[in-house]
């Protein structure tokens, strides 16, 4: 099993550019999440989804958008990138079958210059 796969691993964006961070899981988990991790800080929830077609905002959603057209995929869209979005982004998934333990991807390190 691949688990949770994130692409790309690294990206440098210029201010005002847009990009999509990809996230795919092959565990048939209902729940998926996007977190950002700033240096020396914990993880902050950006968006989450409880199933295909259903998404909701987390703690820090401004500047981001998501979609969940399938159980497997949960892309995160950054529109008009700003330096404040420089961070490491983690996608995760979980389900009641796993007692809600999260499986995280390996992260995308994004720098906005």
């Amino acid at each position: 099993n691949a688990g949770v796969t994130q692409t790309p691993k690294f990206r440098i964006l210029k201010i005002g550019q847009s990009m999509t961070l990809q996230c795919t899981q092959d565990m048939n988990h209902n729940y998926m999440y996007w977190y950002r991790q700033d240096p020396g800080m914990g993880l902050k929830l950006i968006y989450y989804s409880v199933g295909a077609g259903i998404t909701d905002k987390g703690e820090v959603p401004n500047g981001y958008n998501v979609s969940r057209s399938t159980t497997e995929d949960f892309p995160l869209r950054l529109e008009l990138a700003a330096p404040s979005q420089t961070s490491v982004y983690f996608c995760a998934s979980s389900s009641p079958d796993t007692a809600y333990g999260y499986t995280f991807g390996s992260g995308t390190r994004l720098t906005v210059v």
Binding site: M41, L43, L45, Y48, S49, G101, F104
Partner: protein
């Protein structure tokens, strides 16, 4: 508003020592308290978790102590090894849709040989 406070931010111990990481929460609706371990360049991985109906849980060298009345829980790493050097995050969630985790700020643990 930070709902899970973690301390200390960093910790250095000698091999065989017992690093102790503490977390305090505010939301009395929280009913699931996991700990995650993160190595540099990797996503967090579930280490151990506890629910408030027990006061202690052990898995190998890792122990969670839980004090419901004080709204505190802690992680002890027994007989610590250099391979335990990592960042540790506590987290908490309530039984709501999506099982969203709120993370503490993280503790960087260094175990010296």
């Amino acid at each position: 508003q930070q709902q899970v406070k973690q301390s200390p931010q960093s910790l250095i111990v000698q091999k065989g020592g017992i690093p102790i990481i503490n977390c305090a929460y505010e939301n009395t609706a929280f009913d699931y308290f996991p700990w995650y371990q993160q190595f540099p360049g990797k996503g967090p991985a579930l280490l151990i978790a506890i629910r408030p109906d027990v006061s202690e849980k052990k898995e190998g060298r890792f122990t969670i102590s839980f004090n419901k009345s004080a709204k505190q829980f802690s992680l002890h790493i027994m007989d610590s090894q250099p391979g335990d050097s990592a960042t540790y995050f506590c987290a908490a969630s309530s039984n709501t849709a999506g099982n969203k985790l709120t993370f503490g700020g993280g503790t960087r643990v260094l175990v010296k040989p």
